[in-house]
Symmetry: D2
Subunit: 250 residues, 4 copies
Amino acid sequence: MTALRVAVTGAKGRMGAEVCRAVEAADGLELVAQVDQGDSLDALADAGAQVVVDFTHPGVVMDNLEYAVTHGIHAVVGTSGFSPDRVDTVRGWTDANPGVGVLIAPNFGIGAVLMMQFAAKAARYYESAEIVELHHPNKVDAPSGTARRTAELVAEARAAAGLGAMPDATTDDPDGARGATVDGIPVHAVRLRGLVAHQEVLLGDAGEMLTIRHDSFQRTSFMPGVILGVRRVGSVPGVTLGLEHYLDLD
Amino acid sequence: MTALRVAVTGAKGRMGAEVCRAVEAADGLELVAQVDQGDSLDALADAGAQVVVDFTHPGVVMDNLEYAVTHGIHAVVGTSGFSPDRVDTVRGWTDANPGVGVLIAPNFGIGAVLMMQFAAKAARYYESAEIVELHHPNKVDAPSGTARRTAELVAEARAAAGLGAMPDATTDDPDGARGATVDGIPVHAVRLRGLVAHQEVLLGDAGEMLTIRHDSFQRTSFMPGVILGVRRVGSVPGVTLGLEHYLDLD
Amino acid sequence: MTALRVAVTGAKGRMGAEVCRAVEAADGLELVAQVDQGDSLDALADAGAQVVVDFTHPGVVMDNLEYAVTHGIHAVVGTSGFSPDRVDTVRGWTDANPGVGVLIAPNFGIGAVLMMQFAAKAARYYESAEIVELHHPNKVDAPSGTARRTAELVAEARAAAGLGAMPDATTDDPDGARGATVDGIPVHAVRLRGLVAHQEVLLGDAGEMLTIRHDSFQRTSFMPGVILGVRRVGSVPGVTLGLEHYLDLD
Amino acid sequence: MTALRVAVTGAKGRMGAEVCRAVEAADGLELVAQVDQGDSLDALADAGAQVVVDFTHPGVVMDNLEYAVTHGIHAVVGTSGFSPDRVDTVRGWTDANPGVGVLIAPNFGIGAVLMMQFAAKAARYYESAEIVELHHPNKVDAPSGTARRTAELVAEARAAAGLGAMPDATTDDPDGARGATVDGIPVHAVRLRGLVAHQEVLLGDAGEMLTIRHDSFQRTSFMPGVILGVRRVGSVPGVTLGLEHYLDLD
């Protein structure tokens, strides 16, 4: 079996460099091009790349994607800033180039994606749901994007199942101990020296609790998700939003 | 909307009595017959029962089921002892009475079923998987049936994904601290005064861990699962094994 | 060995009734008087009580205590509302009756008291400390009194060790996900159907975390603390505030 | 204030090198000598070292200690292999050189030491106690030394309090799911890719559970304990076994 030919854009960035290492270490993948600022995108086609991985920035990612799709190269994208308008634009390119697949994902941590999916699936069976996320103390925003996204998914699942507001008799909370509320779901943010990125979703009903927790001990733990994306993107034509669609959860 | 007419066999048993209370408390359900030892099964048909819930014992459950299916009454069964032979026999009855549904489930705890299903779905993405179950100290068997079943499901998922043996460099374990191995999955049983029934499935890979934990604080926490079964059994003809098939997990 | 003679005031109240049962079930204790509204306190002396347990209310507890101390009866008190003034008054009575002991405690849960003491002892060794308390959704106040008290103890320990503010780079928290701050310690309150009373104290430093968690699965779990108080109060003359002083923690 | 003058033996070893870095980074400490294989111990006295840190090996540690104590240099020792005989020998040296302190500790992780101490203090109040340790899958021994030591301390505390065997009705455990038993305390060992070194002590009684958990996310997390030892060893003459004696736990 010949190896899948993979290129990386933003290859000198912190993330891009790790992607390069991960591609080189993965069975059945070959790193054929490393492109960074100032390099011509033609290096992708010249190297015969079949898939490109893009961890760059919002200012250049659209050019990179247009080049890839129009040259028949599948793309796995971790760059942020994909508004609905931008997604529509990419979809226009893939419509014009049937067979080309693009995966755009805000989170390549397989465990975090599984946590979110399981929480959403379980939510309809539980009267109460809350989220506790825990991170290192250098994080500037609270709650985390993953916690916010989890809350939205849980809220959608509750609404679809016809569940109303959660039980909560709190009348006296002068200091805000009950935390934030995102789409009706309480979200709590802990910041602790020594931690990296952790989250638990707590689902409660009469006499029982279901807890789904993800611990990320190292920031490199998203690489298996990137590699999984690289392997599958060629068989999923069009634009796919979110790694969860590549996981076999059904 | 007219209420669904529900009968209970084994109505005076510990479980049957709780089912009676749960049916009476549930919206849209009406308890129309309570049958116990010495009562004629004709009480079911006479009362116009549409669904019967059976928590009895292996010696009588087959007679109960034959009566129910041949009289067009759907059945939700928590009685133990269903060998493949017995299941085939029941399937013969439902084949002869198309449209009648029978749900046979070893565990009606929705949370426990969700835990098992999620663990199985996640297992293919993790190099390591272990199970820790924790129960009150009056339990005579270790590990629990739920832990055993979880291990089997995780092992099946790993095999289907082509995963081999888990990494484990242990060479020195004179006292058996590594616990039991069920289908290749390490299982640990804790017994502690004050606990009821708890389990966590730990899934580990480079730099991350996914934990799925279920806490049962009261033994009555399976009633929502029974009621869910009662509501759905009429729309699922034939024999169904396991509550997981009634949950919307896809 | 003759049994210790114990009386209970507020014997018909929810707590008092449980205390009566616990005293009767305990080795070496004899329940000799049960006093409630309308009964004369002379029943205590008449029955030869050596210790009285008082779970009544702020309007009567001072009269009960004055009677007990002046009659040479030790007292274990779970009634709330003890201001510094009230404590001084009781101390005046015990000064005048040397040898009589009075234990006044806001919390008789041994586990909760241990959690608080351990958290305070460990706090000086950790850069970060936060508290997450979890309760049933019928609770009206947040955070819990135990969480507030834990935060105070942790803050005192940090100050005594010369620790400054905890690291926290949060600049963007529009919805209050970071929770309440009690004496500088972040406190988070979760409310979930199925829970009773739970708390964990998280202590973090470079590369490590210490977690001290207490789960109360039943509201009766404070009885061992009351019985421990009854057994020891006779050997600790004067007024003692808090069950922690009766525990062998050193 | 002049800095405390610190030397390191085994300075080129993995641990010694980290100690050098930690000493250099610590306020009020000065690294004045780094000694390794082939160097003369006279470098310690020549540099005016007040404290020496020794992470070497059993073959040389006794010579190092004799030199240090007889030259009036305090010693913090993480080297293994200290039999009672060896400890007696060191004690002979410190007896002859009053005022010199030697700390010999098998574990410099402050959090792990706190966990063990708290578990031992709490054990007398709980009917049940079990230990779960979790490590990376490259570990060859099970259970860990820390888990073994924790079990011994818990067992001693239970015996001192007159507690008998723990409740356990298990009669059917064909595969050893109940784990190892160390001094009567069940100990379970989990091995999972992604983990480093973790342990939880579970203490249960009627209606409640106390959990003390330590997570070590990085192997360098023992450096604060070494530095604490360096700072205090000069004020604790004689031989001290175990870092717990330097912590303010009372």
